[in-house]
């Protein structure tokens, strides 16, 4: 039993890890709780100033390897918005396929490689090779297919090459698209098996209603494009995001904290499913029902289930998009549209797998950047993570210190924070006074 627990990191001796949780419990009450990411600040806003319009997407892709497609598209969209580039249907559909590839890559990595070990009570995917070879094989196969989709459509599995402002440097062939369609089709049996495994898991029950924010539109499950929408009832155009989304620097963290209508909000798979459930494919909805995900859902641990449901949706949607493209025909002369420098501001918002991602650029008339604002999903979730922990820890306060630590970590990991800070970071010193 934990009357007084003091969980904190010791920064000098710590050789591992990017994220810290400082937790101080006295007489069964939380005295101090801070979640922080002492992630090396990389100053992307500064790197971008002065860069010509064809460079920002290559640079910002390197903000996060696991969201590199999302950053690429948020960046390209911001530039295209500023330069008033008019795209064609083929480019927009192909971009969605690249995006779907990244969703399967990332959600698969998180559900199978990072969260599954938590639910199965082990420290990593490595022991699962012995105990759950079927799950590991599914994970590796799915990851490979997703990597191949991004590689075939964008030139490389991590950090896309062909996706640029105005379209694609090179198009996949019809045969490439048929291959992708076959790969997607081959995933259905694996999804069925995974469904059974997921159904057998017991997720912690923890509900805390918060504000759920994502993009949204009236024609598809919004991942690539849409207006900003909140479960608190507001909807705004991307260009006006600053009317709602507020940011501040906080002392204990290099990541800024965000808020909108309340003191915190959530972005990511659960927000998307909550806001756009009706737009999911029929199969995805059926899986959601079987897994007990009813919207609105306020259980943070269900983020992982929502991610799995999105994989199902992406497989269905990828096949649909490929059929449409093949029907309309792949035409090399449609790969790129004209782009001309122009002064102005543009905002690009996409849903990265771990949540809403905002790029905001201002260009001068020679097509060089003068001002940048980037808001990444992990920052948006920070405050919400802290609020969740404040609400969750009292319910597990009678458990042992190890269990408190494990469950707190698991809650943080459920958010799927950006990879460089997502996993297994609490190398903590525990003092039980």
């Amino acid at each position: 039993m934990a009357e007084n627990v003091n969980i904190e990191v010791s920064p000098i001796s710590r050789v591992e890890g990017h994220g810290d949780l400082v937790l101080d419990i006295k007489n069964r009450k939380i005295e101090k709780l801070q979640f922080r990411i002492p992630e090396a600040p990389r100053f992307f806003e500064a790197m971008l100033v002065g860069k010509k319009y064809d460079q920002p997407s290559h640079i910002t892709s390197r903000i996060c390897g696991i969201c590199s497609v999302a950053h690429t598209f948020a960046s390209i969209k911001a530039t295209e918005d500023a330069l008033k580039v008019k795209l064609n249907d083929l480019i927009l559909k192909l971009r969605r396929i690249v995006n779907i590839g990244e969703y399967i890559q990332s959600n698969c990595l998180h559900v199978y490689f990072l969260a599954a070990p938590d639910f199965l009570g082990v420290g990593s995917v490595i022991p699962l090779i012995e105990t759950h070879p079927d799950v590991v094989n599914i994970a590796i196969n799915m990851k490979k297919i997703a990597n191949d989709i991004v590689r075939i459509t964008a030139g490389r599995a991590v950090h896309p090459i062909t996706t640029i402002v105005g379209g694609f440097t090179k198009l996949p062939t019809e045969q490439d698209l048929l291959n992708i369609k076959n790969m997607l089709n081959s995933l259905y049996p694996d999804l069925e098996i995974s469904l059974k495994v997921l159904k057998s898991l017991k997720l912690p029950k923890f509900e805390r209603e918060t504000e759920y924010i994502s993009i949204s539109n009236n024609y598809e499950y919004a991942l690539y494009d849409g207006d900003l929408k909140s479960s608190d009832g507001w909807v705004i155009k991307p260009i006006n995001y600053l009317d709602k989304i507020k940011e501040k620097v906080v002392e204990h963290s290099t990541g800024k904290h965000c808020w909108a209508n309340r003191d915190s909000y959530m972005v990511g798979a659960l927000s998307r499913v909550n806001n756009n459930y009706e737009m999911l494919s029929d199969r995805a909805k059926q899986y959601a029902e079987e897994l007990g995900l009813k919207v609105p859902c306020y259980n943070t641990f269900m983020i992982n289930i929502a991610q799995f449901i999105e994989i199902v949706h992406c497989v269905d949607d990828g096949i649909r998009l490929i059929d449409e493209i093949l029907n309309e025909g792949l035409k090399e002369d449609k790969a790129l549209v004209e782009v001309k420098p122009k002064a102005g501001r543009g905002v690009g918002i996409v849903e990265a797998p771990r949540g809403t991602l905002i790029h905001d650029y201002t260009y001068d008339k020679s097509g060089k950047i003068t001002k940048v604002n980037l808001i990444i999903p992990t920052n948006m979730n920070y405050a919400n993570v802290e609020k969740d922990l404040e609400a969750y820890i009292p319910s597990i306060i009678d458990k042992s210190e190890d269990e408190i630590r494990f469950h707190s970590e698991m809650l943080i990991r459920a958010y799927d924070p950006c990879i460089s800070c997502s996993t297994h970071f609490l190398n903590v010193k525990l003092i039980n006074k």
Partner: protein, 248 residues
């Protein structure tokens, strides 16, 4: 070295290099069995202070990074720098060009003193690096090949010829023909001319070859009416910390 203990560490970077290790796909299980992974921020909870090989991603950009790097270098017998950030400083060096203090101010405003940040440098600015797996990200096979050859006691083979050679071998049309620019003549091969093959100019993410034929690059540029300055910006993307080679 039979079944060496391996630590995978991350400094300032995007995690993409570590991700490429997780992306080994069908090779992943073999790789995990061939070595004993004792540290891997992105993938495992366990960690240990005993390892022979350190795979290091990212560049040094805080005082805390530096302490951690020095700690690792005391333990590891072999250090492998993985990716452009670790090998050349990579994109992170663009921040140095902008100016550290200015950058802090721009991003964190009047709270800038809360931030621990120093000039970005590649890891060999501080510790001896034994092998370099270059690229942003490196090819997966290169990372595995380096580790594998260490296990069997061979010296890993890293190309020291330009990307153009790979590009021509693949029969690509030179991008200069399309009016695009490319660093192929001086960039280090090993990626199988990944970008030119996708009709996108090479940005030398693998750094340059040991004795770059600057004249070949300049000749090529002048043939198409360009100067080094014209494309320097592209090159700076990954080599801002080591950018004086072409200016000679």
């Amino acid at each position: 070295m039979s079944k060496p203990k391996v630590g995978v560490f991350g400094f300032a970077g995007c995690g993409g290099c570590q991700l490429e290790i997780l992306n080994l796909e069908e090779q992943l299980v073999d790789f995990i069995k061939a070595v004993d992974i004792v540290n891997f921020t992105e993938a495992i909870t366990e960690h240990s202070d005993t390892y022979e090989i350190a795979l290091i991603e990212g560049s040094v950009s805080t005082n805390h990074d530096l302490e951690k790097l020095e700690h690792i270098s005391k333990i590891a017998k072999i250090i492998i720098a993985v990716g452009a950030c670790a090998c050349t400083g990579g994109l992170n060096c663009l921040k140095n060009l902008y100016g550290l203090e200015k950058a802090k101010e721009l991003v964190y405003g009047d709270k800038k003193d809360w931030i621990d940040a120093i000039e970005t440098k590649p890891i060999d600015a501080y510790v001896k690096v034994d092998y370099y797996a270059r690229g942003c990200p490196p090819t997966r096979s290169e990372i595995v090949d380096i580790v594998k050859s260490l296990i069997v006691g061979k010296k890993p083979e890293i190309p020291n010829y330009p990307v153009c050679i790979e590009c021509k071998r693949l029969g690509n049309t030179c991008l200069y023909e399309y009016g695009l620019s490319c660093f192929g003549p001086v960039a280090r091969a090993g990626c199988n001319a990944r970008c030119p093959s996708s009709k996108s100019g090479c940005e030398a993410c693998r750094g340059y070859i040991d004795q770059p034929n600057i004249n070949a690059q300049k000749d090529l540029l002048s043939r198409y009416g360009l100067t080094v300055e014209d494309i320097m910006e592209g090159f700076n993307l990954y080599n801002a910390c080591k950018n004086n080679v072409l200016k000679k």
